[in-house]
Amino acid sequence: MNTVKTLSRSLASRVARLDALPAPPQDEPEVLSNVVEAAVAALARGETHYTDRPGIPEFRAWVADHLAERYNVLVDPSEVTVTCGSTEARFVTMTLLVEAGGAVLCPGDSSRIRGALHILGADVVDSIQDDISLLYITPDDYRETAIELLQRAEDANWWIVYDLSFAKSAPPFHPAQNEKLASRVVTIDSLSADLAGWRLGWMAGSAAALRLRAGKQAITICTTAVSQWAGLEFLKANVS
């Protein structure tokens, strides 16, 4: 089966420049016992079926409450979708909010969105040009630069993705605090730092929330049920 003349000629060009696969991390990060026991309890309750497509209601409610309390950003739980890590959240938002041939403006580290954009056939750029439709920023970007670009986004009607996952800093700033921008801001976050192997992330807010939910459903239907219950326990116990 290793002689694959037929299919080796058939690989789509979109996969040609994707990065080689990294080796998996060797460490097994310790998971708090209350998180494990919450997962065990969920399985004992029979939480082994598909969850609601956007995720369990309790998890989505936590995300909405957190955005309100931490950032004063109002998002309805129905606008939150739980994803398989922030990777899926980024892939879905990039590929649904940007057209093939378009461009994403990223003033900081673009390494986490390049693969999705390559599959889509879109570019990532670090300066303003005509075909930009989405601004990707994180809390680690220079604040002055981000604010300047957000003003531009307001005029140009760009989508904005504010990615909190992997952020080294945690300022109370959030682009959706600007009412004029709020309907175009998707917030991405995850538990990738603490529960990487459980594959939990989320995307929240924006006028495109239902479209993003459908986009996630088309790839993985829903996020692993037991992970959602474990993650909910982690969030309640560890994130104020």
Partner: protein
């Protein structure tokens, strides 16, 4: 036959032409009602067998929950390869296998790895419309291959060949089929394989229901035929056979370079499968298999009850040979399938899916699952009968 009932809510009417969204709209509607019997979604009502849950619990308590490689746990890939060699006759090793976030992601990754804009994919009609989005996103074009009830929705090589054009790139087979519950039999698959080799087609075959086959029928894997391994992507998952839908754990067997390409796509799409689910999958595929046979026995009994009910309703059907559904011809009612589903939900409190959720032309078919206990299925039939009598044209 058109959608005329003015009472059909806008939430359903607005998505009537999108199979996947139509199903979700009906599920949302059912969720807002009391005492609904849900025979819509393909989510087994049976529990994940306890030895699988126990294995997951052990993995979590022993801290074996760190991130894996995108292709999956090596132990699981080896076990899947062993299983596919032994039970499906596929000539595969661990390097030909990757673990996916359910069966649906397997299809998504395969399409992304293989399909270029403008490529045509031959798809038996009716179809599992949840795959449409993946094909559209890659710029692929679906070309329908007809199947029919008289033939129990088996797929004919002649029909496949008739649909081939210079742009044809791949054939997508789902066997047992969702929604029809038909299977593509070994004789037909042999003939289809000849067509695919002659026309240099890739075959993507979804075998997620392959452990749920009703006697005397049996599953056959097209990838086991000479000359097919190098052109076949075989998709499967733990979801249906072991009642593990919520774990989101599936797998793919394919040539190594395709696995490598799919894994690169997966790395930027969703990342590895949740590790606890992979340990559960390992327990499923290496542990006792009595549960699969026990569940099959339960589904067989339910199927008999539902078919009896359909006979009473005057619905015809192709023999359901596998899977968890019955695909029934509702034309005797004279009611559009979407409207019929709405009426049965609204007035009978039974959720079924209209045929239009599985292809635009299936206005006279409905899909009903076997995923409730026998007594509940009997109740569902009793609820549906008076609604049908009231509205039958």
């Amino acid at each position: 036959m058109s959608l005329v009932n003015p009472n059909i809510p806008e939430s359903v009417r607005a998505v009537a032409s999108d199979g996947t969204q139509l199903r979700y709209a009906l599920m949302e509607m059912a969720r807002g009602m009391d005492d609904v019997i849900t025979l819509g979604r393909g989510d087994p009502d049976l529990p994940t067998p306890s030895h699988i849950v126990d294995a997951a619990n052990r993995a979590m308590r022993e801290g074996r929950t760190g991130l894996t490689a995108a292709q999956g746990l090596p132990q699981l890939r080896r076990a899947i390869a062993d299983h596919m060699r032994e039970h499906k006759g596929l000539p595969v090793a661990a390097g030909n296998v990757m673990v996916t976030t359910g069966g649906q992601e397997g299809l998504f990754l395969a399409i992304q790895a293989l399909i270029e804009p403008g490529d045509e994919i031959l798809v038996p009609d009716p179809r599992y419309t949840s795959y449409d989005d993946a094909i559209r996103r890659a710029g692929g074009i679906m070309v329908m291959v007809p199947t029919d009830r008289e033939d129990a929705f088996n797929l004919e090589a002649e029909a496949v060949e008739a649909a081939i054009t210079p742009a044809s790139k791949a054939l997508l087979i789902v066997t047992p089929s969702n929604p029809t519950a038909g299977i593509v039999t070994e004789d037909r698959l042999r003939a289809i394989a000849d067509v695919c080799i002659r026309h240099n087609l890739i075959v993507i075959v979804d075998e997620i229901y392959s452990r749920i086959i009703y006697a005397p029928w049996r599953h056959f894997s097209i990838g086991s035929l000479p000359g097919m391994a190098e052109r076949t992507i075989t998709l499967d998952a733990f979801s249906k056979a072991y009642a593990m839908t919520g774990w989101r754990c599936g797998y793919v067997a394919a040539p190594e370079n395709v696995i490598e390409a799919m894994a690169r796509v997966k790395q930027v799409t969703t990342g590895p499968v949740a590790t606890v689910s992979q340990w559960a999958g390992l327990a499923a595929i290496t542990g006792p298999q009595d549960c699969v046979n026990e569940y099959l026995k339960i589904y067989t009994e339910r199927r008999a009850v539902l078919l009896d009910g359909l006979d009473r309703m005057g619905f015809a059907y192709g023999e359901p040979r596998g899977g968890l559904f019955v695909w029934a011809d509702s034309s005797s009612t004279g009611i559009h399938a979407t409207e019929l589903s709405y009426l049965l939900l609204k007035e009978g409190r039974v959720l079924i899916f209209p045929g239009t959720a599985f292809g635009e032309n299936w206005r006279e078919y409905v899909r009903i699952t076997l995923l409730e206990p026998i007594e509940t299925l009997r109740t569902a039939v009793e609820r549906m009968l008076p609604v049908l009598e009231r509205y039958r044209v």
